[in-house]
Assembly symmetry: C2
Homo-oligomer: 369 residues x 2
């Protein structure tokens, strides 16, 4: 499964896998795809260094990349404490009340929350980059708009391609103007931050809008048929995130969350502002319902909401409080029905792609395929 972009990056298949887990990223690259490690959870540079070392030791020389969350607009001199001070007390009380209702225990003294705003702040992302540029990464992706111009330049100086996510053709054009090399067209059905335009419509719009830049299709892809569909829409590759969450290499901390993912259908996600303040697709839970309820206090804008709920989300995850337990995931969760290795998922994708090409050739009357 070769496109200009996959050839340029030196991978066998134009399948890009985004994951917060080093073992998954390395396995994707070993399988012939392109693993991209999500860096948002690394607040300490040494942790990122440790995991990039690990990837280097396990990727067998295959290329991989890093995904950061870096706002294009710089906010000078704002600390986490400044942001904390902007959160209304009523919202804090709503969280206390909601957690109490479900009997969620407190975190022990000194237990850090897993979700911190810090990973979302530019100074942290820059620290991550200082670490990452010491490694032979081939791709730097940004999940939050175009990265700042100096970061793009720094990447290009090192021969690193820069990718950015877009939920509309308009955003994609801005990326192109910002010197980005690759646009990831993130459809409505995708996990995490998404717009309202579905992949079927978004992908070709973005391809046309940023031509000749390569586009990766993201959202709703978890089978070889869907890979074939996305490539039919003009993409030069696919960008998969959710599908790896239930692989055996993934390190989701909560067994109960894994069971929820395996049991969920495609209709069991919701596009909610509960997690970050911007619409992000995730498992629908009583937690998202509480935030989306018109009788609740409503969500705060990014980055306040993320900071507000950080400890609560950690508590829910640590104590595996079933009705509240969720995670960002796309509508493809409906076909994540068993724990499989990354290699098994990958084989399924590539074989399914070949079968889909066979079928489309039969439909097109091109025999001998």
């Amino acid at each position: 499964m070769q496109t200009e972009l996959s050839k340029k990056l030196g991978v066998e298949h134009a399948i890009f896998g985004f994951t917060p887990f080093p073992a998954v990223a390395a396995a994707i690259s070993r399988a012939g795809g392109f693993g991209v490690l999500g860096a948002v959870r690394y607040t300490a540079p040494d942790d990122l260094k440790r995991d990039l070392d690990w990837i280097e030791g396990h990727v067998e020389g295959m290329p991989y990349g890093l995904d950061v969350v870096m706002p294009a607009k710089k906010v000078e001199g704002v600390t986490e404490a400044d942001v904390e001070a902007m959160i209304p007390q009523g919202h804090r009380q709503f969280i206390r009340d909601t957690l109490a209702k479900y009997g969620v225990p407190e975190l022990a003294e000194g237990e850090a929350s897993g979700w911190r705003i810090t990973g979302w702040m530019e100074q942290v992302a820059r620290t991550q980059l200082d670490v990452a540029f010491d490694y032979p990464i081939k791709l730097l992706a940004n999940a939050l708009g175009s990265p700042p111009a100096d970061v793009v330049e720094r990447a290009h100086d090192r021969g690193v391609l820069v990718a950015a996510l877009a939920g509309s053709a308009r955003h994609a054009v801005k990326h192109k103007e910002g010197g980005i090399d690759i646009v990831v067209a993130q459809g409505y059905e995708a996990g995490g931050h998404t717009g309202e335009i579905a992949s079927m419509v978004l992908t070709p719009e973005v391809v046309e809008a940023v031509d000749p830049l390569p586009v990766l299709a993201a959202g709703g892809i978890g089978s070889g048929q869907q890979v074939a569909a996305a490539l039919s829409l003009g993409a030069q590759g696919v960008w998969l995130g959710s599908i790896w969450l239930t692989t055996t290499e993934a390190e989701l901390p909560s067994p109960r969350l894994i069971q929820k993912l395996l049991a969920a259908g495609s209709g069991d996600t919701v596009r909610s502002r509960a997690l970050t303040g911007k619409p992000a697709r995730q498992l629908r839970t009583e937690w998202t319902d509480a935030w989306d309820d018109t009788n609740g206090p409503g969500t705060l804008p990014m980055p306040l909401q993320g900071l507000l709920v950080a400890d609560a989300v950690s508590r829910i995850q640590k104590y595996e409080v079933e009705p509240l337990l969720g995670t960002p995931v796309g509508q493809i969760v409906g076909r994540m029905n068993s724990e499989r290795s990354v290699q098994a998922v990958f084989d399924d994708l590539t074989r399914g792609f070949e079968r889909a090409v066979d079928r489309i050739n039969r439909i097109a009357g091109r025999s001998g395929q």
Copy 2:
């Protein structure tokens, strides 16, 4: 572009076109697709008879079908007046206030509204069927759940295939259990009534759920690339509605509405209950905004909402009140940028499909394509 289903129906291309306009339906069938006439607007049997006669005279012997709106659950002895009586006065006042704010003139005495509840009631749909079964229709589609068992039987006795729309695999399985022959998987991005699951995810789920029944993919399709994508997902054909609205054969009464459609981007639609009481994708207008506003009275359940707004929608359309003027349409409206003949749209679809197949073969390394 041949599938088992297109062969069975005797059409050259597995492209199904849904339209309220007889001239469009006939042109789709003449072009080698399968035209399906939407019957919901025919409250008088003679009008339907006249238009089916017209189609018979213009279809050059090619097959075509009819789409009705027939609830599976029968409501005995309920008249339009009974339903009218259930509408709260506050909602009527909201409409009067909103129309007054925009200076929308009244309809003249005796001017019927274009949108009536009657087309949505079973007795009317049955009258439509009594007319339609006198014609050599090859397909009967139902937009509102499975048709009643006796209707399915009556169709089968005449060799007419029965199709039903579904927005989830669960609904699709119900159709299969109801003896339906074809499921139309209607994705989130589609115009009109839609669920929340996007085509990329919905199509293969429905294909798997109702196997071996054939599935048509609907939602987001308006180019040959998108046809190839939908067929890659396992569909036996595509079902297109929106794309025909701006063809030269379409008879939209409002030139200003046509201009709005041509100018709209993929982000200019909304899934709103404003039109019928169930979520239906349509152009976003100040009318849909007013209904979706949390400070408004909220929409009523189907069929009350449709009856409530019928005259208002007619007035808005007749007087072409720009900010309020809308229509059901899918996200594909973003690529409806010029008025073209049905044949030109069709050529674009089939040529684009061939190019998409060429490209996917190159990506798959199958040379000589």
